[in-house]
Amino acid sequence: MSTAETFITPDGRTIGAVMMEMKNITLRFGGVVAIQDISFDIREGEIRAIIGPNGAGKSSMLNVINGFYHPQEGEVWFRGAKRPSMKPYQIAKQGIARTFQNIALFKGMTTVENVMTGRQLMMKKSFLWQMLRVGPAMTEEVEHRRRCEEIIDFLEIQHIRKEPVGSLPYGLQKRVELARALAMEPKLLLLDEPMAGMNVEEKEDMSRFILDVNDQYGTTIALIEHDMSVVMDLADRVVCLDYGKMLADGTPSEVQKNQAVIDAYLGVEH
């Protein structure tokens, strides 16, 4: 694999330099090893897929990337610097956003409020202004609201703008969650099974949104997905995990041909 500044995929897409690099990550819970000595990288502007059977350690990997879990061994490099041990909110500040496998929306709030939560880090006006909610505080609120409304338009969820998210159907909740992540204007967007439980139509919509996001905003995306056809369509590069170990890393077609991957998915006896 090339370590060059840029990289051209077989689809002819140009992706940038290494943005994030995982070096020999090992994560344990008590005696259970969730991730064992895994290394891979994510490049600027690419769509990177992480695949693998259930319990392979995919979600744990995402949790390591955004700092929710701290690996016992290994290093995380972000934009050329080794990342020190950080709290999740600090990592969010670096521009890493994510969605969750089991939707983690704020159920007591409306759609637009949920999307607005993505802007939290960018809102700076002090407590005092917040109390008064006039002048700069109001200007700030309106400005961010405008950005959020753009994203709401982009993801076509205007009609549920003021609905409490708890009562929305599953597919829409997933979309609101994506909107919330986008509102953070992330450099790296982590999607944990964005299409789980969706029908074909919803999956197509979601795929389109993901590609559009990558296209329009130039956001780097790392996603976990089970549906291989989706992965093949979307991803520039794929890494495959099984039982916390790395099975393969490469372009979709390379990974698809990998014997170990095929075995893992077909459930060959070890």
Partner: protein
């Protein structure tokens, strides 16, 4: 029919971000304010004796509304349950008492508002455990605050200036020539002071809860892990909730003693009162400022009304009615949690919703 938003369009985000975007709501609030400022101070509550209406109903209800808004910020908006409300009110009251003895010439209203900061600091201090513990465990932490502070109110003589009776007594103070505290203060003066502080604080609470800080509280409430991953710092969010909540509660405690009771000992701040305030929050509606008004008014007036009804209509004595109201409030708590966890505020919204489409049922 009357409550209809058809034809009202918000053309700017500013309009949409107002506290009451619908015209009818604006008129409603204006009517309430006119009533509160221009009618009640002069006429009290029609049918009730003026002094009783002011001292036994209006003033305590307004004060407890501040308490309830404060507790609601913590419980309803941030999802951190607290049984230490009584004691935090005590912190405000004792702080104000000490301030009045150190600064006898300072405007008492400023001192009352300042005493809230003391309780905010104490509140944030006892909120520290919330960074590590959640839910029921936090109940224990707040009970620790409650009982420890109660002990301080008894044992630390400095707090009550070594008064042999162990109570704090409110001195007489004037603002702009009006006596506002002490027994000679007119109910109308005290009412107007309390009302103005309530309006001021309610606006602040409304502003905070609708903006960035309020959202960070609600994020913590709804899903604290996700909130942290999105960039909310739990330390800031939780402690600010504890501090703001305790500020409100502290101010209400100072008001309770200075504008209403006139003297207080530790009994006025005990754990049973903490339950009472929690009931106000639950019945009024978790996470609703409007609900806080309803909850405080309801929980305070309900036993009084019941007592009066029992006596005048059924000849039942006050003792029985006291117990009936205990049971009834308990039952209502359970019923409202089952039927509508968002309390009377949500019921009111449903009523408005019905009005909106009236006379067509669907």
């Amino acid at each position: 029919m009357f409550y209809r938003e058809a034809g009202q369009y918000n053309t700017t985000y500013e309009q949409d971000l107002q506290a009451f975007p619908i015209k009818q709501d604006k008129i409603g609030i204006a009517i309430w304010l006119v009533l509160a400022y221009l009618f009640v101070p002069f006429f009290g509550i029609p049918g009730l004796e003026y002094g009783f209406a002011m001292n036994a109903i209006m003033i305590p209800v307004l004060i407890f509304t501040i308490t309830t808004i404060g507790l609601n910020i913590l419980v309803g908006f941030t999802g951190q349950i607290s049984l230490g409300t009584g004691a935090f009110m005590g912190v405000g009251a004792y702080a104000c008492y000490k301030l009045t003895s150190y600064f006898p010439d300072t405007n008492i209203i400023i001192l009352i508002l300042a005493s809230g900061f003391v309780s905010a600091i104490v509140g944030a201090l006892f909120g520290l455990p919330s960074l590590r513990i959640k839910g029921f465990y936090l109940v224990v932490a707040t009970l620790a605050a409650q009982f420890f502070l109660e002990w301080c109110f008894i044992r630390v003589g400095w707090l009550y200036n070594y008064n042999p009776s162990g109570a704090i007594e409110v001195p007489q103070r004037e603002v702009l020539g009006w006596i506002v505290t002490g027994a000679s203060a007119e109910p109308m003066t005290r009412y107007l002071v309390v009302l103005s502080i309530l309006v001021f604080l309610a606006i602040i609470a409304g502003n905070l809860t609708r903006g960035r800080i309020g959202r960070s509280w609600m994020m913590i409430r709804d899903m604290d892990i996700a909130a942290e991953l999105i960039g909310v710092r739990p330390l800031t969010a939780k402690l600010s909730a504890f501090a703001v909540s305790s500020y409100f509660i502290g101010v209400s405690g100072a008001l309770m003693v200075f504008m209403w009771l006139g003297a207080a000992e530790v009994e006025s701040f005990d754990v049973n009162h903490s339950f009472l305030y929690l009931f106000m929050v639950i019945l009024g509606g978790l996470g609703s400022i409007t609900g806080s008004f309803m909850g405080a008014a309801f929980i305070w007036t309900f036993p009084i009304i019941l007592k009066e009804l029992g006596k005048s209509w059924f000849g039942i004595n006050a003792t029985v009615m006291e117990n009936v109201s205990l049971v009834a409030i308990g039952v209502m708590i359970v019923v409202i949690l089952i039927a509508e966890p968002h309390g009377m505020a949500r019921l009111w919204q449903i009523v408005k919703q019905k009005l909106r489409i009236w006379p067509f049922p669907h």
